[in-house]
């Protein structure tokens, strides 16, 4: 059996990266001769969520409940996963390669004294069990052997598209109340503040992101870019150098150590496209690079490009949008 940790959004749905991980698990299960896929989540799922998971081919939904699960603790979540895993005898334990997914599975791997592979993009063979994962911010792939059972790994965001199964699963709900030791509750979240509006949440969900790099020139060089953001009802995303120089706040950073975005259109302006940045924007469906250097990595990897200084191109684009809107 394959066990997948599913993260539930505040609105009560299975987050996209978790649905991707379940889809990945299903593909793996098919290669393994049709072994069942079960999921573990925290809290009681409503009917809609249970229905969605069933449509993804899930056999059982193990819901971790009890006071230990009132607020997040990586160790407590792992304790629940391990307990379900031991009873059901799963050979693979998976999660999405999100902060939570990587954290909880690292706890699972440490408790079971087995290796863990983070940010897997594909599996190679079953015997030996090999996976390929992203390292160096996605610039390099590592083939890794997971010889021990369970195989523990997380799935990189957007490695596979989330897709319901041809044949739905039973989606049977199993309420779990695992035994959680006091020691596993020492490091738990004691308070959560609502995110301020328009922080990185807006950036990761925006349909259009306008990017800005060193080419912006200074902290005062963002007026035209911000106007374009407003005209397109999008968000501003910046490269690491922009936040390092203090031109813009860190929550606007796109990249390996910032947000990972997947908008319909990304418009990187004056961004050369270092690996660190590419790691955060490579999932954009279209990329329009505006750059003075036609050989910049961002330009050669883009779908569309304009060669020129952003301080000339962007105001002209803004003017053209306003003109067409009358």
């Amino acid at each position: 059996m394959i066990l997948v940790l599913v993260e539930v959004s505040p609105a009560g749905g299975a987050v996209e990266t978790s649905r991707e991980a379940v889809t990945f698990a299903r593909d793996l299960a098919a290669v393994g001769g049709g072994v069942p896929v079960d999921v573990v989540l925290v809290g009681a799922p409503d009917d809609a969520l249970a229905g969605v998971l069933a449509s993804y081919g899930v056999r059982r939904v193990h819901a971790l409940t009890g006071p230990a699960y009132d607020s997040f603790s990586g160790a407590a979540w792992a304790a629940g996963l391990v307990e379900v895993r031991e009873r059901a005898g799963s050979v693979v334990v998976m999660a999405a390669g999100t902060p939570r997914g990587n954290e909880v599975l690292a706890h699972v791997a440490a408790r079971l004294a087995v290796p863990m592979a983070a940010n897997v993009v594909s599996f190679g063979g079953l015997s030996p069990f090999t996976v390929t994962r992203q390292v160096v911010g996605g610039a390099v792939l590592e083939e890794m052997r997971l010889a021990e059972r369970p195989a523990v790994f997380t799935v990189a965001g957007h490695a596979v598209p989330a897709a319901p199964a041809d044949v739905p699963g039973a989606g049977e709900l199993v309420v779990e109340t695992p035994t959680v030791a006091e020691a596993d509750l020492v490091a738990r979240v004691v308070s959560t503040e609502e995110p301020e509006p328009d922080l990185s949440g807006a950036l990761t969900s925006a349909r259009v992101v306008v990017g800005a790099g060193r080419g912006a020139g200074s902290a005062d060089g963002f007026d035209d870019l911000l106007e374009l953001v407003e005209l397109l009802d999008g968000s501003l995303g910046v490269s690491r150098v922009v936040t390092s120089l203090g031109w813009r706040p860190h929550h606007e950073q796109v990249g390996q150590t910032g947000s990972r975005i997947a908008p319909e259109l990304y418009i990187p302006c004056g961004i050369s496209g270092a690996i660190q940045h590419w790691a955060g924007c490579s999932s954009a469906k279209a990329i329009l690079a505006i750059n003075t250097d036609p050989d910049a990595p961002m330009v050669t990897r883009a779908t569309h490009a304009v060669i020129g200084d952003l301080h000339e191109v962007v105001p002209a684009v803004n003017a053209e949008i306003r003109r067409r809107r009358g």
Binding site: M116, V136, V140, T154, S191, T243, A305, V313, A319
Partner: protein, 256 residues
């Protein structure tokens, strides 16, 4: 209060990556090296916590002789002691590294310098394993807070916070504890000239690994196939604006 902060010498991801012929690592001859970004934040936090608590921060790395550069960098921004586990980092998996860090923590405590707080980066910029800090916590039997950007210590309790999926999250954990840091919460300071001079004079503790490494389960590294450039150049300079707006209309991102 003498926090320990762990750093790693990694490939500078702004440079082109070339692999060694055996596919086991990045070819250092063609790479620039740096400290992982998250660890620069961890170093800054360790220095501030040590200063507030009237102690000193110790920086630790496991790496070959070149990794002394990363130790000196941390000393130059305020760490007061450094420990270097001399080993080939490519032969060490995350569990191996965690064991070596735990050994340093125990040995330093036995020698009279307990580190009640160990700070690490959330994940290394090269291997991206996301687990050394957590495995270290299990080695030591300590609690671990993962992926936070601000950390402070008062009255034997560490308060740490960072962005979570549902908002800004805060943890309060009694010492001793392990904390892994994400960049963005504090601005790493630049080394001053006196700081650099002082860093050169610090005697670095060099030590051998305590156990044979199990290894990283790596079969080999490969470069992803380069995707052929299919970029459509819409024009040059301001004259390209109409073509840009045509594209925006075609993609349906202009509609209001």
């Amino acid at each position: 209060m003498n926090p320990l902060v762990c750093v790693k010498r990694v490939v500078d991801s702004s440079s082109e990556v070339v692999l060694t012929d055996d596919g086991q690592g990045v070819d250092g001859r063609f790479a620039g090296f740096t400290t992982s970004a998250h660890e620069e934040g961890a170093v800054e936090l360790a220095v501030r916590i040590a200063a507030d608590g009237g102690g000193g921060a110790t920086v630790l790395t496991l790496g070959d002789t070149d990794a002394v550069e990363q130790l000196r960098s941390a000393l130059a921004v305020g760490c007061s002691a450094a420990t270097h586990v001399l080993a080939d980092p490519q032969a060490y998996g995350p569990a191996d590294v965690a064991r070596e860090i735990a050994a340093v923590v125990r040995d330093h405590a036995a020698a009279g310098t307990p580190h009640d707080l160990v700070l690490l980066g959330n994940d290394a910029a090269d291997t991206g394993d996301f687990q050394v800090g957590i495995r270290l916590a299990y080695e030591l039997g300590w609690p671990v807070v993962n992926g936070v950007s601000t950390v402070s210590v008062a009255d034997g309790v560490v308060t740490a916070s960072g962005a979570g999926p549902d908002g800004h999250e805060t943890y309060r954990v009694p010492l001793p504890a392990v904390v892994t840091v994400l960049e963005g919460g504090v601005e790493p300071r630049y080394p001053t000239v006196p700081g650099r001079m002082k860093a050169k004079k610090v005697l670095i503790e060099e030590r051998e690994p305590v156990t044979e490494p199990v290894g990283p389960s790596r079969v080999r590294l490969v470069l992803p196939p380069p995707s052929p450039s299919t970029v459509e150049v819409l024009g040059e300079g301001a004259a390209a604006a109409p073509a840009v707006v045509d594209l925006l209309e075609r993609l349906g991102v202009l509609a209001r």
